[in-house]
Symmetry: C3
Subunit: 305 residues, 3 copies
């Protein structure tokens, strides 16, 4: 799979438990459509939320661009309230920044659509989210990645696998700590007292593992738009911090990184210690589902033969 045939970074980019959005291209433009609408989503076996999703997905699907392309994202509002779309961390003209409370940028009413357009000038890990902060903890955010152009890269610069992990937390009505009450729930408006903790929308044990083979270099992109820091730890493997918020970092080695609210941290590691090993947030309550262990913001690094 990793032979000369597949010198394509984009095909190696994966959102476990999630999916890449489909797109259209024309000239140098890549066009995605996102529909914001009420969406049901299962966080973990028998716990479903009535949240807000993009294209029915919580978090929203993965949007990928190549450096130098023109970004076009059509946002259709199927919510019952106005919304807008902000891509966090990629500087762009104010009219396309999506914070209408402050900026001269449109507020999209229910039933309306708008096409955002700006250049994908900066390589890096970003995310998109609703301009209204009250809609984000309900699910309205998703990953947005700009890859370098492959033809500028040597074979060694491209990771064998490139995993996108969106970190979220939810305040879901439940009974006493230590038990999970099955059902369908509307999360509270803000994640102030969270009791469920997800990676790409799933809590352990429903998180899909990250697959690798011995000898690969893999990248993991942590994205956090929750209201807490998540201190992410990879067992069995030291790693290099290669990018913080889209800006390269050099010669920083680590085993536990603090991903603060609004931040994106890209790490790379060598798969030289066969697992499976956990990849997890280190806060103990975050490793539970409403206080029930095992659970929470935990996934695995799995070695394939």
């Amino acid at each position: 799979m990793m032979g000369d045939v597949d010198m394509n970074w984009e095909s190696r980019l994966v959102m476990p438990n999630g999916l890449k959005a489909k797109y259209q291209t024309g000239g140098n433009t890549r066009y995605y459509k996102l529909v914001a609408k009420p969406s049901r989503h299962s966080i973990v076996d028998r716990v479903e939320i009535e949240g807000l999703g993009y294209n029915g997905s919580i978090p929203g699907p993965l949007l990928v661009f190549r450096q130098g392309e023109t970004v076009q994202i059509e946002l259709e509002n199927q919510l019952d309230k106005p919304t807008s779309l902000h891509v966090h961390g990629l500087s762009k003209p104010v009219s396309q920044d999506g914070i209408p409370e402050i900026e001269p940028t449109p507020l999209i009413k229910p039933g309306e659509s708008y096409v955002y357009q700006f250049p994908a000038w900066q390589v890096g890990t970003f995310f998109y989210h609703a301009g209204d902060p009250a809609q984000i903890p309900q699910g309205l955010m998703g990953p947005f990645i700009i890859l370098p152009n492959d033809n500028q890269l040597t074979r060694e610069q491209i990771p064998y696998r490139d995993y996108v992990l969106v970190l979220q937390q939810w305040d879901i009505p439940q009974g006493e700590i230590g038990k999970v009450t099955p059902g369908t729930f509307k999360p509270k408006k803000f994640d102030q007292n969270p009791n469920f903790f997800t990676i790409n929308g799933k809590s352990f044990p429903d998180t899909e593992g990250l697959r690798t083979k011995y000898g690969e270099k893999i990248r993991i992109r942590f994205i956090n738009k929750s209201s807490a820091s998540h201190s992410m730890h990879v067992h069995g493997h030291d790693f290099q911090v290669v990018s913080v918020n889209g800006f390269p970092r050099y010669n920083i080695y680590d085993d536990t990184i603090n991903v603060a609210s609004g931040q994106r941290i890209d790490i790379e590691l060598l798969s030289i210690n066969p697992g499976p090993f956990p990849i997890n947030g280190t806060k103990t309550f975050h490793q539970t589902n409403n206080g029930k262990t095992p659970g929470g913001m935990v996934t695995k690094l799995i070695y394939d033969k």
Copy 2:
């Protein structure tokens, strides 16, 4: 305004919504007087707190020094409890450090005064606060800046504008989340469950914007003595982290920085993307006033013609 006439960094230093304290000089000494006393302060339209201020101001006024000066701060205690003054992060003789529970430094009784004196040896962003931790979340803290001597600097090293932003949070008695109850309130003693989030004492939309003109280099100094990290994001502009806690940093570019409790982070950006753009904490509940949007720890970068 930014011509040859004004090669003076100090005049470019501004605390929006706040004010610089007046001072006296004599020889190499700069003398400020701070009076700690109960103070009423409006956080946002129709929400007033009965807190504790310095010179009636919450947060306290901006104190500015030049490197090499001798600092003199007279603290007068008009509270009904003892207090003291600690300047956080600038090493000084223990007798002037202001933590009398541990140090041989005076506890200032109600009605008494004390003059703290120590050298302003280190350029950087600091803050002063009451030695008693229970007085700080009531308002007893303020910014303290030591600037380099202008005559050591080239024109290019001095920012056109230099903004000081004090980040605070408040636990104010209110009704249900999502509504603001007008009135005058005594904040709880500690900011454990905060519901109001301020920059220089004001919540959005009452925060005064940061003004710039196209082509300027501006500095922003974030200061946090609250009990939470605040992840600060500038829209439309990448920035350089130039100083952390008074110590220079090099070649670090970013768009979202985590300002932990007790920390001060100075950033510089080039005003090359006309706004207005938000500057805000990224935690969603922190962008509200008791859960009501818009609000919270949000200000603007405004371009003047």
Copy 3:
């Protein structure tokens, strides 16, 4: 004391309020025994917890190794539930990593024992803890340090004193904020709403100070496995960040560092400003015992003659 006789880093490594575990050696192996069992522990005068300890100690005793040794840790389970042992941050074979929910590594039943074995290949500050996240906030964690071999070091590279500080927080049943109710208490299972804050198991004023003499270079190792970040500040002394999570850092000077959950940060400072000075977490509520000041995550740097 610091003459040629004592060119031994290990003898300079101290856990104030704590103790070093005894060990046996054979060949290149260093063997420790840890017994996990219910343990009573006094956090501060008249406040005792019924927690879980290793060898009766909360946090567990200090384990020290030299780079190149083989680690052997026998874990005996005297709890009423299964447990396991994970050393955080030191890559090791999966069978010895101690997270049986995910890894092929044993779950140790009550009454059983297991000997973990792996190489101490990486110099640095680590910690050990129970694999079950619900057991950790009850006390089941402790410091784990790998020192370089002295014979590879010059005299200047070895700190005069090397202090290990484990940062913890506890959610203990108490009455209203501002008062301490004496008694013996079972902490809540997770440290979500903590009201006591300890360094090596003790709150101020029961924390044992860090002793130094004028002119010494001392190291302080902060270890955090709680569910909050602790922003640690040393009064009167700037410091150098020399290691983060076991990886060296260069040319980073600071006065307030954020130690996130799961992280270990080593700092070094020169004792050139006679105190006593506080060393403390900066969050105000964390400087109290259930809201009563003085208290909390505060210790002292004390100068001996």
